[in-house]
Symmetry: C2
């Protein structure tokens, strides 16, 4: 069966939110999703702060990827950062994840990007093996730091 | 002495490239910088894929920060990702790094961003202590994966 990958449309907001919630459950953070259909529609189609593609088999949605452009001062160019990659449990093992990764890698090359990046949870062994097989380096020396909520307000002097 | 933080202008491309190279040397990757004045000018002022601010004391540039918007599917909102933060060696200890971080945190709050993030090298102890003091969480569970160069072309099916 052929996998088709197409850009998401505003009508996909419900589907994308469902996929995001399923992925958050898999990532052991089922209550972490504050996004709504409206916030996703705004971000993807008005503000255009991210892009999404849907993977389908015979018209049935099987997964999605959501990504945005980052920027590297070393390459001096934009890159693509993959925020979410998700394939429904029943569709795993069919090469849909790889097809989504290849699709975005091709977009990165077309757009002249220097890098294609994403992050993986350290206990997600199948994903780690899959990314190893895709030739992805591990940026082990680096740790992401995050300020949000009250800590962000405090740092901004708004507490 | 007062620290002023101002948005970068196209005339700052030479200065920003110098700061990027000094930072890459500090990060033990002196040859990693492929960016040019032209590529920085294009990215910051034509393509607008990133933004930069310059920290000055009495008109003398002492450091800079370069950042862009990322996006979180969990918050459903844009965030700010700090790509580079740099203070010249002679200006360290004067609070310029903190002033730059506070400035960008305030921008994040003004722009309705859910998160302010960056990455730190695991051997950069002074930076780690500084970020701890700023209330930044460590996203230890996550590792960034990167595909670039020939591996990116291969994944894109262009090899």
């Amino acid at each position: 069966m052929t996998v088709t990958i197409r850009p998401a449309t505003p009508q996909d907001a419900t589907l994308i939110l469902r996929f995001i919630r399923e992925l958050a459950e898999f990532e052991r953070e089922p209550d972490a999703v504050k996004a709504t259909e409206e916030s996703l529609r705004h971000a993807l189609f008005d503000e255009r702060s991210a892009e999404a593609v849907i993977a389908e088999q015979e018209g049935k949605p099987m997964g999605f990827a959501l990504f945005f452009h980052n920027f590297s001062t070393w390459t001096g160019r934009r890159g693509i950062y993959l925020e979410d990659l998700y394939v429904t449990p029943e569709a795993r093992g069919l090469g849909i994840g790889k097809a989504l990764l290849r699709h975005i890698a091709a977009l990165a090359v077309e757009r002249g990007c220097g890098r294609f990046e994403w992050a993986v949870l350290d206990w997600n062994e199948p994903a780690i093996r899959f990314y190893d097989a895709c030739g992805a380096e591990s940026m082990d020396e680096w740790t992401v730091r995050r300020v949000s909520g009250d800590a962000l307000l405090a740092l901004a002097g708004r507490d």
